[in-house]
């Protein structure tokens, strides 16, 4: 049976991994398992922004590159290990803007090499993205410059779903950005609260919130796997946990202490059993 740690073992160093933000079913358990595995040089995509899970991966030295539209702990403020790594020059950051990330993934969903997006022209984001192009709209009568974005195909989509069924489908409700990253990625690795009998695709009420097993490489049960993020209407955001993290992770030493307590202690426990 798969566990978060066995899922993490499937992600090689250097992999391009897409993560949803704190308000959209991040698998914090899988991020912690990647830290325990000692993953290195991951290239992380925030879909479309990044939060808690990405900050701990950066702090633990798992990340070489980050493409995202923002990194924040929400009410708890700036993401401390991201900020420190940027200062130290240990990560390469590619700034984007939310709809550009979605559009690049949607291009991969369709299997086309690029898609256009309005806006962005005049932003310094564009000036720092040599991989984004501006062309003249070929269908316009007059002048109409428009941005073309290259398709983005992550190696893995990593997220937490409410449940999986016997057929390997997973259910995320309306958080369809998880479906977008699952569709766009080569494979999705998903933690779930529980596995239930039956097949979501045979139930009209569940099918629209499901992601087809076609896209899912492996599923592991991780109860409260999104914690401290909220899980739809099942459990709420744990603001105290994030505030405690934000306080401790202000310093490298504090972050290490937090990591020992919240992430690495499990390795010792498992080894002792």
């Amino acid at each position: 049976m798969e566990t978060p740690d066995s899922l993490a073992a499937r992600v090689p160093d250097g992999a391009l991994v897409a993560l949803p933000p704190d308000n959209s079913l991040p698998s914090v358990e899988l991020a912690k398992a990647l830290v325990r595995r000692g993953a290195r040089a991951l290239r992380v995509v925030g879909v479309p922004v990044s939060g808690f899970a990405t900050d701990i991966l950066i702090g633990a030295g798992c990340v070489a590159e980050l493409e995202t539209s923002a990194v924040s702990l929400g009410e708890a403020g700036f993401a401390p290990r991201f900020t420190a790594a940027l200062k130290a020059g240990t990560i390469t950051l590619r700034d984007a803007t939310c709809p550009a990330i979605h559009t690049r993934l949607q291009a991969s969903e369709k299997g086309v090499p690029f898609m256009p997006l309005r806006g962005i022209i005049g932003s310094d984001i564009l000036a720092h993205r040599p991989d984004w192009k501006v062309i003249a709209n070929p269908f316009a009568a007059g002048e109409d410059p428009i941005v073309l974005l290259p398709a983005l195909q992550p190696d893995f989509a990593l997220f937490h779903a409410v449940m999986a069924d016997e057929a390997g489908n997973v259910w995320v409700g309306r958080r369809r950005e998880c479906a977008t990253i699952a569709h766009a990625s080569r494979a999705a690795l998903v933690t779930v609260e529980r596995v239930v009998p039956g097949n979501f695709l045979e139930d009209e009420r569940l099918a629209s919130g499901a992601i087809n097993a076609t896209y899912i490489e492996a599923v592991a049960v991780a109860e409260r796997g999104a914690r401290p993020a909220a899980l739809l209407d099942e459990y709420g955001f744990d603001a105290a946990y994030v505030a405690d993290y934000a306080r401790m992770a202000r310093s490298e030493a504090g972050f290490r202490e937090w990591l020992d307590r919240e992430v690495l202690a499990r390795t010792a426990k498992v080894a002792a059993e």
């Binding site: 308000n23 959209s24 479309p48 922004v49 995202t68 539209s69 923002a70 990194v71 924040s72 929400g74 009410e75 700036f78 993401a79 900020t83 940027l86 200062k87 950051l93 700034d95 984007a96 803007t97 939310c98 709809p99 550009a100 979605h102 949607q106 997006l117 309005r118 806006g119 962005i120 022209i121 005049g122 932003s123 310094d124 984001i125 564009l126 720092h128 007059g142 002048e143 109409d144 410059p145 428009i146 309306r174 958080r175 369809r176 950005e177 998880c178 479906a179 977008t180 909220a230 209407d233 709420g236």
Partner: protein, 251 residues
């Protein structure tokens, strides 16, 4: 009746929102004061559609957060609020950071959807409570989203106004310049100039920002608070559950 600064800002934003007819407003993350303003407008105009991005229950979208950008791309969102770590005199927004790219001085969280929303929404109201020379600068260090665009670049609208903790500015996109529209209680043209890093125009007589009416305050502290409690519990406790003016004067 005494009021909190946040309440003054909410009714001021509400007045700006109502200045032109609209059907659909979206409010982004961590924006309790704009959210209070749109609820004030919504309660008087039930047909107004609100898309509050960070509501846990009753979130407006079924296709994930990209639906906001798809709606905006089509022109189905009439008004959005933006702010920035730096805002300059041409209404350029910087959510990247200071110093060299990508923010070697102070790094801000990042641009979110601003590079798209600012250009694709017909109406934008800029809101930043901190009014200081470090926020309101002559020229932003980096442009997340441009205040004005070159001719020929597709754009539906610009900033209409910038509301801060000290005043309201109106923005003239053709001139790329702010004009002081009103000052909040206790502020003057001079005090605003002293706290502003960019040059702006000011009429000979600058009006005071109107205080919230008793009816507006009652609505904010009643039905608006009820609507916001789930998403912004700390804000509601701090702003709307404050001691009444009687208790305050007794204390």
């Amino acid at each position: 009746m005494s009021h909190a600064t946040e309440e003054l800002l909410a009714v001021t934003l509400a007045r700006l929102i109502r200045a032109r007819p609209l059907k659909h407003v979206a409010v982004g993350a961590a924006s309790p004061i704009p959210a209070a303003a749109v609820w004030l407008v919504k309660l008087a105009q039930p047909s107004l559609r609100l898309s509050l991005l960070h509501r846990r229950s009753g979130n407006p979208f079924t296709e994930g957060t990209r639906e906001l950008f798809d709606l905006t791309g089509q022109g189905r969102i009439d008004l959005f609020f933006l702010g920035g770590g730096q805002i300059d005199g041409q209404a350029n927004l910087n959510l990247i950071g200071t110093g060299d790219w990508p923010g070697t001085g102070v790094r801000f969280p990042g641009s979110f959807g601003s590079a798209f929303m600012y250009m694709m929404t017909p109406r934008t109201i800029l809101f930043r409570e901190e009014h200081s020379p470090r926020v309101l600068v002559e020229r932003v260090d980096h442009v997340s989203a441009p205040g004005v665009s070159a001719p020929g670049v597709f754009r539906r609208g610009h900033a209409e106004a910038l509301v801060t903790g000290k005043c309201v500015f109106a923005f003239d996109a053709a001139r790329g310049r702010f004009t002081l529209a009103s000052v909040h209680p206790g502020e003057t043209v001079e005090s605003v100039r002293a706290a502003t890093g960019f040059d702006f125009d000011a009429p000979a007589e600058v009006p005071a920002t109107p205080a919230p009416t008793e009816a507006e305050l009652a609505t904010l502290r009643g039905r608006v608070r009820d609507e916001m409690l789930e998403t912004y519990p700390e804000f509601c406790a701090r702003v709307f559950n404050r001691p009444s003016s009687n208790e305050k004067s007794a204390a």
